[in-house]
Symmetry: C2
């Protein structure tokens, strides 16, 4: 077998089952090998930002890496923004990036570029294979790197001749270290802090925001009186009825400071001390309360779930904390806005749905209403690189084919990777996308004032994405996804109810 | 004035008149300053790949840099693929990339990333401003770097506080060195070679493919019998009736070898020895004929135009070389394909049009027919990173508002940066786009065989961009551009004639 097949078999043997792809000439042998190897599902994206975003969504839900297949430096470059988001989410991903044949590199052909240079800022692990005989072991190493806790981006560069030359057999999977156990000293310190009577906030991130971690956090909070928080943009949170309630920290620096001000102690579980998303003149960057004690119960690479269970047990906490009730809003009437939209969604959301949230300035309404909706997962924009929501939804749908995915997206951000809609259509993914069409980079109209800048007509034209208005029904139709435009609550309810009653991709443009 | 205004005034004073923008919070002060400063036109793109591609198209036609305005590392990352193309085209561009405030960097907020790392592979010059008092001189330096022959990418990173703090006055423009003069020894060697009776190919690139350079090259060829060639993907070529005929080197390695095989000497003018675009098993990478003498009359940073004039004069060459006749095809009939499409375009193309060519496997027909059409400029995909054609056309239209721009684009590549259509609509740019809709990554179906890879059904599904078919009329309409779908010669002729008779953006989906 050639290097490509040897690598592919290695990836499959290591548990990589999906390859989100946008290949070119230098990746043809890898593409070709897919037909000879059982167990790898190739999924085409028509732009690499969609490809890497799908891998992120898949990884967050499947809790194991997908591969991406990207075409040299520029192909990787097009996927970097969503790899930045994935890096912030600690999502495991294995990027396979083709390159010119090793002997061809010296000629500086037009597509030659510094691939390692492009890869480095987003990758915990980067390696260029140098021969067909080592590409299998390189591949095994890339999966090991990606699966290293809490999850990492591994980028393996595969020159074309490494793919096409005769190679050895696939490599066995390498051991993947479990998350590091938390020391008993750290557990003890947290237990002591939770007993000392001080006002305490527990900041959760990663695995502690779902399943056993969340239950344990709930027990800790119920017993100790500590309050539970997560970052504004947590990679994945289990929310809704029956789930332990975790408050989401606010986005703006001054609200963040105000929210945390009452606390004398912060206990971090897989999280870091909260900081402002942006700097603003005269506002805080470091948002933890002055003088507060900061304890790391678990760093991101450590086993925060087990640590929370230990702490809960040590505190003698009971079997469960406070969970959200199931409390569905009535069908709303009146003004068509993010709040009534949120109420419709919350009322109709099926159990175990996945919500990909890049609604930006339209996100508050849905977040409020969904707090007591049927249990669901929420995936957020972790790195601030807009254009993540659509591919994230697609990738989540690939990982969880039996769960409904709802994508909430601002119109500005959705324009960056709208190509993901086509993959939803091709793969018949069960994703309902709601575009909040305010025809504006809404957040920038707020930020313009917050940074203290004037707003003349030319400045405002840079924040306005109308003139001409985007027509999302046409865009979705052009990409093979059924779509409808609504501008009233009843029409939205009908469209959303219809989408929930069927499977497959849909798009609803909600004109605000 | 603050740092942003000081920088902006510096750019304007240095001759930068257009800023292709996709700003965010950290760039708000720069955006705001645009309303206080005369002479800078901001143009919004809804994705950074469109922004940088427009700057490339502008720079190729205006022969001076536009600025881009990009939002931190991920914003730059989204623009890297087209910056790679621009780097290969030696287009002058000044990237202004916002960053977190200097004092905020330490907090590793979600959008923080290694911006310099992202910038380095595509930039000849990278610098991060560290204070409002130096940002003006940094800006002057960035323009100087961009204008350094033959044209370079300069990336200036501007932290938010550098933009908002009180700054000094704008900086004066720095001197821009003219292209280096070619030594008399190099001129002498070329003259001697052209007189020695050996079969000679002259390979032109850069400024020698237009204006005085092209005329001089024609004189040289007419007198010496040398043949004139340009790269498959030259950044900009003047072609058509009345222009000196320059043969385009073929794309595939074996054809390249065959074309050059007869020559005993290659004289390079702003070009490099031809190499294969990709490596293929058993095929040449280095495509210059074995044993041929290679002379550099002018390196890319040198004044190849003046050198050609000197050589022509020394050879005693007459006033003009062989130029293409005006020879318009009849209106074609019969099969609807790239050849009949090319004939329609050639017949109807107005004088001084600009052709942005990313037609890929559909490009041969138009190229043949346009050889004797009205004089025009052709802009090619210089770096192989597909998704350049639409923004390149938009940027060229901004640079040359009185010239018709025709964009020839494969459907696969056009999906990468279709957002450029919206900017065409907003700015009412006079661009007619033809989408060659073969519903396939056509080139990959060829390359799959050429690299010797098998093609099973899964492999073929990765090259097929139908299922579902893209609907370019819907996509264009969704982005505010009038569009029509045609699948027959007469209908295409009517649509193209209509587009040529009006101004403003149009799209014609040619279903092949």
């Amino acid at each position: 077998m050639n290097g490509a097949e040897s690598l592919l078999r290695t990836l499959v043997d290591a548990g990589v089952e999906v390859c989100f792809s946008n290949p070119g000439t230098s990746e043809m042998h890898f593409v070709s090998a897919i037909d000879r190897v059982e167990g790898m599902r190739p999924i085409l994206g028509l732009f690499e930002g969609a490809v890497t975003g799908m891998a992120d969504g898949y990884g967050r839900m499947a809790e194991r890496p997908a591969a991406t297949l990207l075409h040299l430096g520029p192909g990787l470059a097009n996927g970097l923004a969503n790899l930045h988001n994935a890096r912030r989410a600690a999502t495991p991903i294995v990027n396979i990036v083709g390159d010119h044949a090793t002997y061809h590199a010296q000629y500086d052909a037009p597509l030659a570029s510094d691939i390692i240079g492009f890869a480095r800022p987003v990758s915990a692990w980067v390696h260029e294979s140098t021969s067909a005989s080592s590409v299998a072991s390189d591949g095994a190493r890339s999966v090991q790197a990606a699966r290293t806790a809490p999850g990492q981006i591994a980028t393996l560069i595969v020159p074309a001749d490494v793919a096409w030359l005769e190679a050895g057999p696939p490599a066995d999977p390498l051991p993947v270290a479990a998350p590091s156990p938390v020391s008993s000293a750290a557990v003890g310190a947290a237990v002591e802090a939770l007993r000392n009577g001080k006002r305490t906030a527990v900041l959760l991130r990663g695995a502690s925001l779902r399943g056993d971690g969340l239950v344990a956090a709930g027990r800790v909070a119920a017993t100790s009186g500590a309050r539970l928080f997560c970052d504004t943009f947590a990679p994945r949170v289990e929310r809704g009825a029956g789930r332990v309630v975790v408050e989401r920290l606010p986005y703006f620096a001054e609200q963040l400071v105000e929210t945390l001000a009452p606390f004398e102690q912060l206990i971090l579980v897989g999280s870091t001390p909260p900081v402002a998303f942006f700097a603003y003149p005269g506002k805080a960057s470091w948002c933890s309360p002055e003088g507060a004690e900061i304890l790391h119960l678990a760093h991101p690479h450590e086993d925060g779930v087990a640590a929370l269970v230990e702490v809960a047990d040590a505190l003698g906490a009971g079997g469960s904390g406070t969970v959200a009730p199931l409390q569905l809003p009535d069908h709303p009437s009146g003004r068509f806005d993010q709040f009534t939209i949120g109420q419709v969604i919350a009322r109709l959301l099926p159990e175990d749905a996945i919500v990909s949230d890049e609604a930006a300035t339209s996100g508050l309404g849905p977040a409020i209403a969904l707090a007591t909706a049927a249990p669901h997962d929420v995936l957020s924009l972790t790195g601030g690189a807009i254009g993540q929501g659509l591919p994230l939804a697609a990738g989540a749908a690939v990982a969880c084919p039996d769960r409904k995915v709802v994508c909430l997206h601002g119109d500005g951000g959705a324009m960056y990777t709208l190509q993901a809609l086509w993959t939803m259509a091709r793969e018949k993914l069960d994703v309902t996308t709601i575009i909040f069409a305010n025809r504006s980079y809404g957040i920038l109209n707020i930020e313009l004032q917050r940074v203290g800048a004037d707003s003349g007509p030319q400045a405002l034209s840079m924040l306005d994405i109308g003139h001409p208005d985007l027509d999302w029904v046409s865009l979705a139709t052009g990409l093979g996804v059924d779509a409808v435009r609504v501008d009233a609550v009843d029409a939205f309810r009908d469209a959303f109810a219809s989408a929930m009653s069927q499977t497959g991709p849909r798009l609803i443009e909600a004109v605000l």
